[in-house]
């Protein structure tokens, strides 16, 4: 009998546990009652249209188009007429069968996409015949469209948010789109607008029951604001064309405002391919491409500026007083101290202007050594630190603050770096002499070089480069973009640099003769960025016209040799196109267009 007793004890105990649990669940704990109320309410999100991006002349760079996803609710599917589907969506019988087969087994209450991003014309046909397709319905989607297919690196793209974004930012819910890279990322908050919500009572299968409180709590979606970019889309397109089949980047800035007129990283990509149906496949192809089309070289790839950096060293020398416009040095083809620095054949001796014209290495080795050994400073360390601060005011070794994501700061060697590299007190001006000619422990982005050209053009100041002019119709962007940034060097010194740059394009023996443009006074400086991994990069900075400059350009063509070779003609074509709308030197243009430098890396 005690077995019966024990079993009764077990039964009663279990019943008791269940009752206690129920008592807590139903009587004590209030949280489930609140959850139940939320459960039955459905928040339907209204998605605002994303802002349109125009160029500086009002031409559309990015707009939205409406497409339709055709969905299938498997449980409502009946009498599928394959032939009808084929003719409606212009698919082959096999394609339709494959799609249906993949969905066929699923028998739950969710819907599955049958066909994504159907064009409006096809959708119209579907609508007409809708009564013949049981279980098919459509969902509206908006997609980005690019009328000119240019500026992939500048505009960026949008994609569905991933979980890390959702976890970080409560605004985004799974399935929302977010701008990735380019303007789409940096102006995400402006472009996206604000989602609206309508609350209704629904059952668990999302079937509508009634609006919650007659819609009093609903909010309307606020459309995203349009942007007016400073990009000149004609120029951008032209530059992209010139840079075809070349690795490198081009940045063109309007010196008087800091507005970026064109920003090209080559190879680039057509932004439209990251918006369409084959997005994933295209994305994978882009990431696998060894030339990294999605990598924005113009702001993310610092390279030694080469001789273009002589402009900065010259100006600092003048400012420090260790150099005067009339200082002359003779050059016998190399700088004879320390490990020595080679130069090339040119007139000798050269004064300041001529040193820019012929890009004399020896001249700047003297100049740089004088800066570092200036008696004003207690030690070389101190002189280097002072020099570095001045360099930074030219916009080097720090982010300029352009309104594009992932801008790289670049580097300029510091005392700390040399102390680590050589050891404290184990280095002297001669061991770091390569800085004189912009080589060695120094790296600048093409944007920074264009900005340097702007500073020279403006004789001492710049505006932070920016790619968006206006938000909406008249709303300004952040205030720092409208403030003059001075580089701290007296205006009068710039005259000499500008003269030197002008001579470089026009003078006898000027290194930038390939940038000579009829009827335009071009001021330019060539550079060769030494590349330990292969052939040197060709660099060129310039602005024009000499008086009242309208455009400053920096060009870097990877693995193409000296600065005068390719970078200079490309830059001159760019500024001529911008200033006159024409090209006078069609032979040069043809030569550049046909030039393929992709496989000449010389590795």
């Amino acid at each position: 009998m005690y077995a019966q007793r024990n079993i009764i004890i077990i039964v009663v105990t279990v019943a008791g546990i269940l009752l206690i649990r129920l008592f807590f669940l139903q009587v004590i704990d209030e949280s489930y009652k609140i959850t139940a109320a939320n459960n039955a309410m459905r928040y339907d999100v209204e998605y605002p249209a994303r802002g349109i991006i125009y160029d500086r002349n009002g031409k559309i760079l990015v707009e939205n188009i409406t497409t339709y996803d055709i969905m299938i609710a498997p449980r409502e599917l009946k009498d599928v007429d394959t032939a009808e589907l084929c003719s409606t969506f212009q698919l082959s019988v096999d394609e339709v069968k494959n799609i249906l087969k993949s969905i066929g087994k699923k028998r739950d209450f969710r819907s599955f996409p049958f066909l994504k991003q159907v064009a409006p014309e096809r959708y119209a046909v579907f609508r007409e015949r809708a009564d013949r397709f049981h279980g098919f319905y459509s969902v509206v989607r908006t997609m980005r469209q690019y009328p000119r297919n240019i500026g992939g690196n500048v505009l960026g793209y949008i994609q569905e948010v991933d979980t890390s974004v959702v976890n970080r930012n409560p605004y985004y819910k799974s399935g929302d789109y977010i701008g990735v890279s380019g303007i789409e990322e940096s102006y995400e908050n402006v472009l996206r607008g604000k989602k609206g919500v309508s609350i209704s009572l629904r059952d668990s299968r999302n079937r509508f029951v009634e609006p919650f409180e007659n819609g009093r709590r609903d909010t309307a979606a606020i459309p995203g604001k349009n942007l007016i970019s400073s990009i000149d889309s004609d120029l951008q397109e032209y530059v992209q064309m010139l840079m075809q089949n070349k690795l490198g980047s081009v940045v063109a800035i309007e010196p008087s405002t800091g507005e970026i007129l064109a920003l090209v990283s080559s190879p680039t990509f057509n932004p439209a391919i990251l918006s369409g149906v084959n997005r994933q496949q295209n994305y994978a192809e882009l990431t696998l491409n060894p030339d990294k089309p999605m990598f924005n070289r113009a702001i993310m790839s610092p390279q030694p500026p080469g001789s273009t950096f002589k402009l900065v060293n010259g100006l600092i020398g003048l400012d420090e007083g260790t150099l005067t416009p009339s200082t002359s040095y003779s050059c016998s083809g190399h700088y004879p101290y320390g490990r020595g620095v080679g130069c090339h054949g040119h007139i000798s001796p050269v004064n300041f202007k001529q040193s820019i014209m012929v890009s004399c290495n020896s001249y700047y080795c003297y100049a740089f050594r004088n800066i570092l050994e200036n008696k004003k400073y207690a030690s070389v360390d101190e002189a280097l630190t002072a020099w570095r601060e001045k360099v930074m005011r030219f916009g080097f070794a720090r982010q300029l603050g352009v309104d594009l994501p992932n801008e790289k700061a670049g580097i300029v060697a510091s005392k700390k770096l040399y102390d680590r590299y050589y050891g404290v007190n184990r280095w002297n001006p001669l061991s770091i002499i390569s800085l004189a000619i912009g080589q060695g422990e120094i790296g600048a982005t093409t944007l920074q070089l264009a900005n340097m050209a702007s500073i020279v053009a403006n004789k001492g100041f710049y505006y932070i480069p920016h790619i968006v002019k206006l938000v909406g119709d008249d709303e300004q962007i952040a205030p720092e973009y409208y403030q003059k940034q001075y580089c701290g060097i007296d205006e009068s010194y710039f005259e000499h640099s500008i003269e030197g740059m002008h001579l470089a394009t026009t003078g006898m023996g000027g290194t930038a003769w390939r940038a000579r443009v009829p009827n335009i006074d071009v001021c330019g400086k060539t550079g060769t960025s030494q590349n330990p991994h292969g052939k040197n990069h060709s660099v060129f900075v310039c602005f024009a016209p000499k008086y009242d400059p309208k455009i400053a350009v920096a060009v870097l063509v990877e693995n193409s040799g000296a600065g005068g070779s390719y970078a200079a003609p490309i830059a001159s074509l760019v500024l001529e196109k911008y200033l006159t709308g024409k090209t006078s030197r069609t032979d040069v243009e043809q030569w550049i267009l046909n030039m393929n430098l992709l496989n000449s890396s010389g590795i």
Partner: protein
């Protein structure tokens, strides 16, 4: 069968509870079918349930009329038919939600595993009450286990875990028929250890086991000196472990040290055991080793034997992973529904959670949600009270049987109903992992209602004759 029709009044209390549960179940099924006002719409769940209730009550009457001798005599035949149906299901069955447990016969569709429950009960009752049969030889044990394991295995092959587990409840019957209570204790302890080792760090569990083992030794050692010897051994090793940890800075797994310490203590004690042999101390030793092995094997079983969805259900139940979307969705919505009912409930037909279909399987396995939501704690209490009364009454009836066959069968009925009742409600309130088994007499589902009716009324028939 030449006997005249022998209908005697069955136990009225049980019949009354049965009718109340069936009616109450039907009302709640009706309530889940929110979008209809039609009382007997046979395309809806409550319509078919009504039909099945009528069929079941008719079957109950037939069961009451059939001769008293039929069941003991034909127990094995019924059992074999049930096994054949299970095999047939494996071959031509219909797959519903990844379990191949349904048999389609023209108009109706039923689960042979439901029939197997009362068929096995009959066979088990017959086997245990054979002349001279006692649960004390290995052969008899094997026979008994075979009777239970055969249908259970076949149902497992259908991948219907829930129904298969029901057969474990026969352990209560075996307990009544002479199985040692230690087996029950052992099982309960195993389950507890399994759950604990998923919930708590290993070191706690091992220390807990060690403490119990020490307690057993303490109360049974004759010589305190010997106990001290063991304890010193244990402490030395523990201290060595701690010193090693701080000296070497390595991460030490404490559970390994506690295990080692206990083993040392037991060996030290074991030497003494040879001198003063005492059985209970062996128990302590065996207890410690078995438990420790079990704890260490939990991880293996858990990670390698169980399927991911089983794991996630268990993790959800134990609150290891709060997961209200996938594995935990059912339980979470079910708790929300029941919890939102409050003390008095939202009232008949007023439940939003079950009505708006948030709770899955709401008319079948999760019918208790509707009860909890619409009838509140009062309703839940009433239902549990009804089951409790039913089970205790059946136990009383079983004990008063003159025929041992009837008594054993009575215990089978109690075990099966108890298991269903306890596990079903426990899973809706999040105390047990979700295994799909219905609430007897209440859940929608024809073959389930019919089979429970037959199961119950066979016993009531025997009771009405043999009391």
């Amino acid at each position: 069968m030449r006997d005249r029709i022998e209908f005697k009044t069955p136990d009225l209390l049980v019949v009354l509870i049965y009718l109340v549960l069936v009616t109450f179940g039907w009302l709640n099924i009706y309530s889940t079918q929110s979008d209809t006002l039609e009382l007997f719409d046979f395309s809806k769940k409550h319509g078919t349930q009504f039909l099945w209730a009528v069929i079941s009550i008719f079957t109950a009457v037939v069961v009451m009329i059939i001769s008293k001798r039929f069941y003991p005599v034909f127990a094995n035949h019924i059992y074999i038919i049930a096994l054949s149906l299970l095999i047939l299901t494996l071959m031509i069955g219909t797959e519903v939600k990844s379990s191949k447990s349904w048999l389609d016969v023209g108009l109706i569709r039923f689960q042979p595993s439901e029939i197997a429950k009362f068929a096995t009960s009959l066979a088990l009752a017959k086997l245990l009450n054979k002349y001279g049969f006692k649960l004390n030889t290995i052969v008899n044990w094997l026979k008994t286990i075979a009777v239970i394991a055969l249908p259970m295995g076949l149902i497992l092959l259908q991948k219907d875990w829930g129904s298969a587990l029901v057969f474990m409840s026969f352990i209560l019957v075996l307990y009544r028929e002479g199985m040692s209570g230690w087996v029950l204790t052992f099982m309960a302890f195993t389950i507890a250890l399994f759950i604990f080792s998923l919930l708590f760090p290993l070191i706690w569990i091992i220390s807990g086991i060690a403490l119990i083992a020490i307690a057993i030794m303490w109360f049974t050692y004759q010589s305190k000196k010997m106990f001290a010897r063991s304890t010193i051994c244990a402490i030395v090793i523990l201290v060595a472990g701690i010193i090693y940890k701080y000296a070497s800075g390595n991460d030490v797994e404490y559970d390994k040290f506690v295990t080692l310490a206990m083993i040392a203590a037991i060996i030290a004690g074991g030497v003494s055991l040879f001198l003063w042999s005492k059985k209970i101390q062996w128990y302590a030793t065996v207890f410690f080793f078995c438990s420790t092995m079990l704890v260490y094997s939990v991880d293996y079983v858990y990670d390698n034997v169980m399927k991911p969805h089983h794991r996630s259900r268990i993790e959800d139940m134990l609150g290891i992973k709060e997961d209200i979307k996938d594995a935990g969705y059912n339980t979470y919505q079910s708790k929300v529904a029941i919890g939102s009912g409050g003390f008095l409930g939202k009232g008949f037909l007023q439940g939003t959670q079950t009505k708006l279909n948030f709770v899955p399987e709401q008319s079948t396995d999760f019918i208790f949600c509707t009860i909890g939501e619409e009838w509140g704690f009062v309703g839940s209490f009433a239902v549990i009270a009804l089951y409790l009364t039913l089970l205790i009454r059946l136990l009383v009836l079983a004990e008063r049987q003159k025929l041992p066959f009837a008594r054993t069968y009575g215990y089978c009925v109690v075990s099966i109903i108890f298991f269903h009742f306890a596990v079903n409600i426990a899973m809706t309130v999040g105390l047990a992992p979700v295994i799909g088994i219905p609430l007897p007499f209440v859940s929608a589902g024809g073959s389930s209602l019919w089979s429970f009716t037959v199961l119950l009324f066979i016993f009531l028939k025997m009771d009405s004759i043999y009391k």
